[in-house]
Symmetry: C2
Subunit: 186 residues, 2 copies
């Protein structure tokens, strides 16, 4: 979470290490830490601006966008969770907060009594329509505009490569990831 999910020389020679860890070389560190810092700093600015200008958190934004793009402005909860790659409990807590603020509403699902529909309200629609253009501009300003088409493609390539490796070995898969078929949200 911070910028220092370190990988550096940590234990000099105090204790005998079982298998002599291979610490990261210059190139590896530059890539790894560069990515961490880039993500964290871009996101910090983006989120801060979003909440200041629109009163929406990242979570609010993600959910409202998903719902606003859905056919009738509603989705099943599990569909939302899959789409966002969120844990179901995270989604549930988030929806509770948003429902309290009148941005979404929960409705019963006729075809499956276990299920719930999540519906965007008028207030929710108003909020997302006001927030989205600014947010996109911020993404451009702090991220996209800095990069050339070649750099954008290189980054996509890196992401695709890493993500496909993660998909390959489903270790420690936090539940939502298993269902992900490669779709993207935005």
């Amino acid at each position: 979470m911070d910028h220092v999910s370190s990988t550096h020389d940590v234990s000099p020679a105090t204790t005998a290490v079982p298998a002599a860890p291979r610490w990261l070389d210059e190139r590896e560190q530059a890539a790894w830490r560069g990515m961490l810092q880039m993500y964290q700093q871009v996101m910090a600015r983006l989120n801060r601006n979003l909440v200041v200008e629109s009163g929406l958190s990242e979570g609010d934004y993600a959910i409202l966008v998903s719902l606003s793009e859905a056919p009738e402005g509603h989705l099943r909860a599990f569909e939302l969770a899959r789409w966002l790659l969120w844990e179901k409990s995270r989604l549930s807590h988030q929806l509770t907060r948003m429902e309290r603020r009148g941005l979404v509403r929960r409705e019963e699902c006729p075809s499956d009594a276990r299920g719930a529909f999540v519906v965007i309200t008028e207030a929710g629609r108003t909020a997302i329509e006001a927030a989205a253009p600014r947010h996109v501009e911020d993404v451009r300003h702090w991220f996209l505009d800095a990069l050339s088409p070649q750099q954008l493609d290189a980054l996509s390539d890196v992401a695709t490569t890493v993500l496909s490796r993660l998909e390959a070995d489903g270790d420690g898969c936090p539940e939502a990831l298993a269902a992900c078929t490669g779709e993207e949200q935005d």
Copy 2:
């Protein structure tokens, strides 16, 4: 925070938009969302594994690494905050939790009565020395090993480019960033 800090078509034509937002094209979306997903999924696995195998959170890890690399195993609180790019209150809360668990200790600073030293304890050292090798292996396994030297360099290049733009316009700078001179931690 989720994978959907959207930028997509949100408002079709309901209200007259002041300046017709430019939504992201294919290439832009691939890069932007690819980065978000890559970061989030890699981190999710890394953090989960770290806490399961070592009982340390990302925050614990970052602080213990920083302290273990410091001259006497201690740093001023504000130095730590600057290094990690953390807010001071976040650091303070984190230290409180870690002190409770015996991983670090706070000491008075002789030269500045306002200040505090943060010191790594024996338990802290033991914990980080046990955790680090595994963590580095995980970083390799889920991230570095998937990428070629060219891809690593391309990623570094992207990160450097974006970060230098952020440094350039200090908008919405969340306090810690201002002091960052380009040093890396880890």
